[in-house]
Symmetry: D2
């Protein structure tokens, strides 16, 4: 089968690989119908994720159709259309039992990381019963690719951890795909204001069409002063960090109101400064989280009832065997005005 | 001044009464600009609320302008435009400190009940600092009359107690003003489906325009079978009772899913049967609540940011001295297709 | 093997039955070391639980040692000492994923109910990975039998649903084993007062030694007046119903403070009257629950750290082949001063 | 009257000052019966709190008797014995309404900071109705001095923010008075293990008698390795920082388990490093908080019911006019084996 394979920093190729086979009774083999590329995949390609080794098939998102199931899989059968979660959950360890699938002792983020992933014609999904979801009849399968990772991540790490509530003021720092996913799902809780902050005017314009009530270009405006002016000097109730660098995390500390929440989504490579000398008395909550994908069933219901339109996040389409071009487009997101790209295998 | 006065069951009149005066340093005198009539006022007029005595000025909703404040009022001054809460809160008793203003030991529901109310040219508001809210500049004051009682009641007793969550299925039994207020505020939490149940097709049609995804006329359809059909046999996650009679409360018990919440808003005059022989094992939560109006600041923000349009609930307008006619209209709500009426004092 | 078998209302016998065998790859066969009798077993014997059919081996509690596991069981191996949960959980249905194992679509309460149970030398446990718990090295296994059902039930249905908090006043109606389990676990949250209510002075005396701060014999005292006197007229913050008849559930309604919780543990055979005519405005929460056993890992930790002494609940010991006598003792609990009996298989 | 007065860094004196008088109708004048010295007072004396100006009477803790009340005070009258909260709450601003009294727009921490405090014969308490608490008849008033600041601080900033739960493992870094207050109140929630960490063996020995299950002297042991060994390599569920310097805050980051909470109590003068490069994926919550004293009513109940013994924290007694010596003792806490000192005014 065709697969996108990592061969060390800066090296990837679309090549022929053997089709995966069932190795445990809880496995399923899924034929990929649609997949996509994540910002994390770009990090992998740069060599920033050293656990990913030479020869690994990349990708942790997608929808597909069940090709084969292991003997103890009971929720799925051959021919079922399924959504693949980026997080593998065994359903029976201490972490899975408390809904923290991200830290599953026999799973977590393994796809396209510690085992072969979804940027291929077929993928093996361990613990299939807890790691796949049925696609409702009549659903737009392409839209559901956004539910593999980006929407649960924005929702869980950003919106839920940020405790967004009706009438609140929310700032989202970073208007890339993940910040936009937070923007879309923040609206589940009807905040009064959502202020989007980025350096790219195109992405800020997209944010406006997605529901942002204010946008600030941090390349040209003084963000702290602008936010204070928009909030009667108080700052925001929730600040969602969706970039992953010290300067944006520290910005969140400068715009948060007393009693507020800073919810980190960003994947950080460096430590940041925490201004406890001012924040110690400000009744602040700061959270970090690797997505657990516990919200996937809820997100499926909101998509089915048309309360959420994930398709808005998709800007480009390619065939799976055009994946090298897709990486180029996604890797030049600002220039290409790319958010998420869809790769189709047919 | 003109005021609507209760004179025992079935007897009311618009008559001349002395203007109220400050009696405690925490009082404010408010000139009424807009007021309305509540379903509870109809109950009072029938004699169903025996604490209301002959000579009482009725009414517990409205917006106005501060005429005078007592010496220890600090949040408001003469000339401020204010929203009057139906619940008086002292801000310093055990209940107020835990946000349960409804049971304030020196307040609670007193306006138009134990002391004179708002269906008059002026009203005395005790504990003004905790019982009035500033009207934001530029706000539509008429719309804000809906925040005195009906919207916080629908939101707190129905939506918050009912734990409405994104993706949930909600049923609201009763599509009168209070059920419709629950319908509007339930959407703060983005449920997938809201099923509205009533016997009046006009009110069900209104519910559709307010965001109901399904309606059931309980006079003609089998509600339990219909709800089960709409929910794959499971029932609803939240059932909100907005009528106040045994049959509707018992209906909620028949349509609730395992793990669900029944949130009672209705003012009940009789006990109901609780089917513990089936519900004991169904992991159900049942709540009752007299509105606390703790959500008023949040509701003001959602109105200001146009996330909530309270004006939809207003169907009729009268001058304050036409209040007898307004009672006739509101008392024949089905025939008159009336939801809320606005009375203007100018 | 020996097993206690139900043969219709009033008829049971200790008889020879075939040893259970693995029927699904997720099964385990457990050799019983210790088991007990539950109040529910007495109900079954009277014919009150019609799903239990002639020939069924009874019992849903116990500790044992793994005899054999199915091919996909990964958490346990032959020789492991295990605690058996009264609730079977598949770990992968909608209900299990939200921690509501009681409503597992392929489990729930099945042991000694819909499939053969634990009052036998061996038992087959479906979905073993999610339905058994490792017994910590050095633990008192007899004490842990109380964690199969009675302690999670008292804790989840009574204490957690009742929202017991530090400083609160709690009433527990019913001082039998399950009420006493609620009493023991309520102390996890340090309420100021726990008032135990029963008709049996012996059980009330036991309650005092278990931590009750007040006891009321409802056969001789006016409970409502006494509770009001103990609470400055307010009533209790939490009322836990641990009997299962209308009169005790209705008593809870008479002693609950505004804003309080009534947590039902009792297994009810009849409906009760809900006094909405007074409670509608009292901001009350009422809950029902079949135990989910989600607290079992926590309870194991509290036992291991000696914060909870389950052994206090055990009053009598028998060998498994004396089970008919054990039923007699447990069936005459008041006269025998019996709480829980332990049956040992060796 | 006698009062302890700050005269710039390093300078304080016990001197004669005018008795305070009522300046607002919501004030009360309280005759101090017992007061104490806080670690914060030592910081003030060093000049670390620049808002405190020359001439200020220090102190924010104490119990006393009402000497006089302003005209709109309704909860208290002359002669009432009262507990003074370190936090002043107006009861009617946005923050007070949500229980965040620490940020009261007309209060917060003002006593012995922005206005004269309690280390004097008399003190003026603004917003008396919301800032004082009745002392129950028969209570040990000396013990209740610990409820002015230290116990609500340990409980709210440490235990509640740290989400301590039954069965959890908790580490408290810092075994001074505030860490010990967290230790005492953590036990309200029955954690399985409480690991106390400090450099002073005496304080660690005190911690053992107060309920710590493990102690680690960080001057001599490797804390991270020891904690990991005690927790099967996982780390603690809650880490409470009760020192206020970067190294202890960073230690908390090294011992926290995935999904855990770091609750900061310490008053920090410098920023700390936040290791987002490891924590971003660890589902961690970090909180800061200036005490709100919302738990004071609950703490009073736990003291009255003997669930909490605040007196354990008191090691030394002085008369108010010996306050200079008391400062010497408290300032040499390690050498003097001092926790809290009581100053009596009679």
């Amino acid at each position: 089968m065709k697969a996108l394979v990592y061969h060390g920093p800066g090296k990837k190729s679309l090549e022929e690989k053997p089709r995966p086979v069932i190795t445990a009774s809880t496995d399923a083999i899924v034929k990929i119908l649609k997949t996509t590329i994540c910002g994390t995949d770009l990090h992998i390609m740069k060599g920033d994720v050293p656990e990913v080794t030479d020869g690994r098939i990349i990708g942790h998102e997608g929808v597909g159709v069940i090709e084969e199931v292991g003997s103890s899989v009971s929720n799925f059968k051959t021919g079922d259309h399924v959504l693949i979660s980026c997080i593998t959950s065994c359903g029976k360890c201490e972490y899975c039992k408390k809904g923290m699938y991200s830290h599953c002792t026999d799973g977590g983020w393994v796809l396209g990381h510690l085992i072969d992933g979804t940027q291929a014609e077929y993928v093996r999904i361990p613990h299939a019963d807890n790691s796949l979801y049925h696609i409702p009849a009549g659903a737009d399968e392409e839209a559901l690719v956004m539910l593999s990772d980006i929407l649960p991540t924005g929702c869980e790490c950003g919106v839920l951890n940020g405790q967004v509530k009706p009438g609140d003021t929310v700032a989202i720092v970073g208007s890339g795909p993940i910040g936009l996913a937070a923007l879309l799902t923040a609206q589940f809780y009807t905040p009064a204001e959502i202020i989007m902050i980025d350096t790219d005017d195109n992405r800020l314009n997209v944010a406006k069409t997605f529901g942002a009530t204010q946008t600030i270009n941090s390349a040209t405006a003084n963000v702290v002063e602008t936010v204070k002016a928009l909030t009667n000097g108080k700052g925001v109730d929730t600040a969602i960090e969706a970039v992953g660098i010290p300067v944006t995390f520290e910005l969140c500390q400068s715009i948060i109101a007393p009693g507020g929440c800073i919810a980190n989504i960003g994947v950080h490579g460096k430590s940041a400064t925490l201004h406890l000398e001012t924040l110690w008395s400000q009744n602040i909550t700061i959270t970090t989280r690797l997505v657990d994908t516990v919200t996937t069933p809820m997100l499926l219901k909101t998509v089915q009832s048309n309360k959420l339109q994930p398709k808005k996040l998709i800007t480009h389409h390619f065939k799976l065997d055009e994946i090298m071009a897709a990486y180029d487009t996604f890797g030049n997101a600002a220039k290409e005005k790319a958010l998420k790209v869809i790769l189709t295998n047919d």
